[in-house]
């Protein structure tokens, strides 16, 4: 079950032994070490994506602590000193928050570097979470018993977005103020309670002078605290459930094949932390990000071209940009559908689908078994296609959020792009779903073909009878295992609508609905090769095998190649 390492017993350092004994008798460290140090983790690069997120978060905590030493979370009015850099801000009226952000960028040693590290780490934190989530989704790692951990991870993503948005709003520059104005607009668009929500958030009419101190508390206390707590739960559940692994020879639902946490993974993970920190620090040192002194202090009358949120909020910007101006007035009250639908309903639907997906899939497929072996994405064609369709919607929205940059950089009309994205929003997910599903089936067929007939060797052989064949090299059993080990569930079978006496069966209609959903998932399928099929294929392919029988005399491949050439010329 585990890769046991029996190192020869060495003479322990007496001081080390005394320290270990001290800890063991106080906190029972030997039990903890025994449990954790010998925990086995499987090895695969895609299992490190979550670690990128974790380490980016640690970088965020470290750099963020530095920033709090110099940031003033206040909307009090001030004038930037006339003898301080940058020259474009000298004497300009602004808030304390903005002035302190610029001051720390230009006059605090390492301040700008820390700000840039913090911001790049934030982009990568959310980015790594999203990529990690995609890995979990497409390999089916969210299935029982890990549905709850999916929810924890999903909540972490939402918290990450919240942390990002609140941090983006803190410097009180024009871009962050524009972002808050949109948030205010979305809050106002909520029917009935909208204006109360907006007033509660901003402590009165937008922008007021409460929002920056409030966001500061959210950004440095509430959200990071929740993220830390949820990370603890997330990691505990990983240890509790044990890590999933990719299918392969010797890997079953009941074991984990890999290396122990100590020393292999402590070294790998510890080293990876420094790599992540190093890459982020390099980015912070060489690539400028969120140069707030360019945007100017927030002023509700100012909007600049290219005003966009950070990438993880871009889909919301895009949905707002795509939506035609739609507004209904009911009994004197305006319902602003142009903001309500793209700003509240659409993200609500997308996120609900994302959060509940494990439960939706379980309900539809009636798959209640435990799964510790991951799916290859091609073998779960419908899920893979659904995920690809979801991504298609998301990418269309992101593209729409950047429509002005697409227009200027690719020399196309802004209006045309908007219309193309409006159409793609509805068409692309469907097309992506269908195409992805077909690609999955194509890959499954290829696997099946490979399992049955083996690799093509490129050796053409001609028999005495004149027949040409290509020699196939049969797979070894390790290779074959990967191609044939998965399940291919069949759609739900239900009883007929009427019983033997022709009486309508109660509950049939409900069952039929579930069956339809099940058929949506499983109707098109390609069964993995069974041992019987394999045996049949091998006997049928017997004449492929060399050396040839008396009836089929081999002509050496060099000769046959020469002959083919002679015949074609």
């Amino acid at each position: 079950m585990t890769a046991a390492t029996n190192a020869p017993a060495e003479k322990a350092d007496p001081r080390l032994a005394a320290a270990a004994d001290f800890l063991d008798t106080r906190v029972g460290i030997s039990k903890i070490v025994k449990e954790f140090a010998r925990k086995i983790f499987p090895d695969h690069w895609s299992f490190l994506l979550g670690e990128i997120a974790l380490y980016s978060f640690i970088v965020l905590l470290i750099s963020g602590t530095f920033l709090t030493m110099f940031f003033v979370p206040s909307m009090a009015e001030t004038h930037y000193p006339t003898d301080a850099l940058p020259v474009t801000m000298q004497g300009v009226q602004m808030s304390e928050a903005y002035a302190s952000t610029i001051h720390m960028s230009f006059h605090v040693r390492g301040g700008l570097l820390m700000r840039q590290i913090h911001h790049w780490a934030a982009l990568l934190f959310v980015g790594a979470m999203v990529v990690h989530m995609l890995r979990i989704f497409f390999t089916g790692a969210f299935r029982r018993p890990r549905e709850l951990n999916w929810l924890v991870g999903f909540t972490l993503l939402i918290m990450g977005l919240l942390a990002g948005f609140s941090g983006y709003s803190l410097p009180d520059d024009v871009l962050s103020g524009n972002g808050l104005r949109i948030a205010d607009g979305v809050a106002l668009a909520i029917p009935i309670i909208g204006s109360y929500v907006s007033f509660a958030l901003f402590g009165g009419e937008f922008p007021g002078d409460d929002i920056i101190p409030r966001l500061f508390t959210v950004h440095i206390l509430l959200v990071p605290g929740l993220i830390l707590a949820l990370i603890a739960v997330h990691l505990f559940l990983i240890v509790w459930h044990k890590h999933t692994q990719y299918p392969g020879p010797g890997r079953t639902q009941k074991n984990v094949v890999g290396f122990p946490l100590f020393p292999i993974y402590t070294a790998k993970a510890g080293g990876f932390f420094f790599i992540v920190f190093g890459v982020i620090a390099l980015m912070g040192a060489t690539m400028s990000i969120n140069s707030v002194w360019n945007y100017g202090p927030y002023d509700p009358s100012v909007v600049s071209a290219g005003a966009q949120p950070d990438w993880y909020m871009l889909f919301l910007e895009g949905s707002l940009r795509l939506m035609p101006g739609l507004e209904v007035v009911i009994g004197g009250f305006t319902l602003s559908l142009a903001i309500l639908i793209p700003g509240v309903i659409l993200p609500g639907l997308l996120f609900t689908f994302l959060g509940l997906y494990p439960f939706i899939e379980r309900a539809v497929t009636k798959d209640t078994g435990e799964h510790h072996l991951l799916d290859r994405p091609r073998n779960a064609a419908t899920r893979t296609a659904l995920g690809a369709g979801f991504l298609a919607v998301w990418f269309v929205l992101i593209g729409a959020g950047a429509n002005d940059l697409i227009a200027t950089h690719f020399n196309v009309s802004l209006n045309l792009i908007t219309w193309i994205f409006r159409i793609l929003f509805f068409v692309l997910p469907v097309v992506t779903f269908l195409v992805t599903k077909r690609i999955c089936f194509g890959l499954q067929r290829k696997d099946r073909e490979l399992a049955l007939h083996g690799h093509e060797t490129g050796r053409i052989v001609r028999f005495a009878s004149g027949e040409f064949i290509e020699v196939h090299q049969p797979l070894d059993e390790y290779e074959r295992w990967l191609l044939v080990s998965h399940d291919s569930p069949a759609p739900l079978q239900i009883d007929p609508p009427e019983d033997a006496n022709g009486v309508a069966r109660p509950g049939y209609k409900k069952e039929r609905r579930w069956q339809k959903l099940s058929q949506f998932f499983y109707e098109d399928r390609i069964e993995p090769v069974t041992p019987a099929e394999l045996a049949a294929a091998q006997s049928h392919g017997e004449h492929d095998e060399l050396p040839a029988t008396e009836a089929h005399e081999e002509i050496t491949s060099e000769d046959s190649a020469g002959q083919i050439e002679a015949r074609t010329h």
Binding site: L48, L49, V87, G127
Partner: protein, 259 residues
């Protein structure tokens, strides 16, 4: 003095006084009023050479006498500044019928451009080419320029003048390569989709402050590569193109050699 004192009751005195007052006002106005400063008065030869160039290169669309045709507007009264801007940035002569004329390498040298400008200016009064002093960024206040730029220009040209999109294929160009003179002329004449910011809207000093602000943007970015100064979208793109791909590359390296 006596004659003057005696004459003050003369019935023509008010007329004379009024004439003198008008003259005085006129002279003071001419001396003090903000006038489009012409670098130097063009000579008759310059105007004549400009007319030849105009007829050879511009009259197809703008008409033989610059009166305008179905294909191009009248240029009478647009002034030397407008001609100098359009021709010096290569926008005119326009190379194709597009949503807007694109900047390209200029087709005429500075002397020819001045001749064309002189010719068009001779057809009717209009804003002239600004003087060196009017566009000198060293004399402007970049901080004030930034405030004015954000209020009046940034919604199309982006906060640092990186450019932005307008409707139906039109766009506000990046301002990184424009000369101070071109910037001033553009504000003064409002080429294409741009509004006119005449001297009543933005005083010559304001214009110079904006030029100072834009020149300040050409200093190296304090944070490293500016990544186009296009804001969060390009930053997100780079976060994935560099950060995520390098980190995933390392992850593949760490995860390799096992299983």
């Amino acid at each position: 003095m006596k004659a003057l004192a005696a004459g003050r009751r003369h019935r023509l005195a008010p007329v004379v006084l009024m004439t003198l007052a008008l003259l005085f006002t006129g002279v003071v106005y001419a001396a003090l009023a903000p006038s489009p400063a012409q670098a130097e008065t063009p000579s008759a030869g310059e105007v004549e050479a400009g007319e030849k160039l105009f007829i050879a290169n511009c009259s197809t669309c703008h008409g033989m006498n610059a009166q305008g045709t179905d294909h191009g507007p009248s240029l009478i009264g647009v002034g030397a500044a407008s001609v100098h801007f359009q021709v010096a940035t290569g926008r005119m002569p326009m190379d194709a019928n597009q949503p807007q004329a694109e900047a390209k390498p200029p087709q005429f040298d500075e002397a020819e451009t001045q001749q064309l400008a002189a010719y068009v200016a001779s057809l009717g009064a209009g804003p002239g080419i600004p003087s060196e002093e009017q566009v000198d960024p060293a004399l402007g206040d970049a901080a004030n320029g930034g405030l004015i730029f954000r209020t009046n220009c940034a919604m199309c040209h982006n906060a640092v003048g990186a450019g932005g999109a307008l409707t139906n294929g039109k766009h506000a160009p990046p301002l990184y390569d424009s000369t101070p003179t071109e910037l001033y002329e553009a504000m003064l004449t409002g080429p294409q989709s741009m509004p006119v910011f005449n001297d009543a809207t933005l005083t010559p000093d304001d214009k110079r402050d904006i030029i100072a602000y834009l020149m300040e943007q050409r200093e190296p970015s304090p944070g490293g590569f500016s990544l186009g100064a296009l804001g969060p979208v390009s930053e997100g793109l780079w976060a994935f193109a560099i950060g995520m791909s390098v980190l995933i590359g390392f992850a593949v390296w760490i995860g390799a050699r096992s299983s």
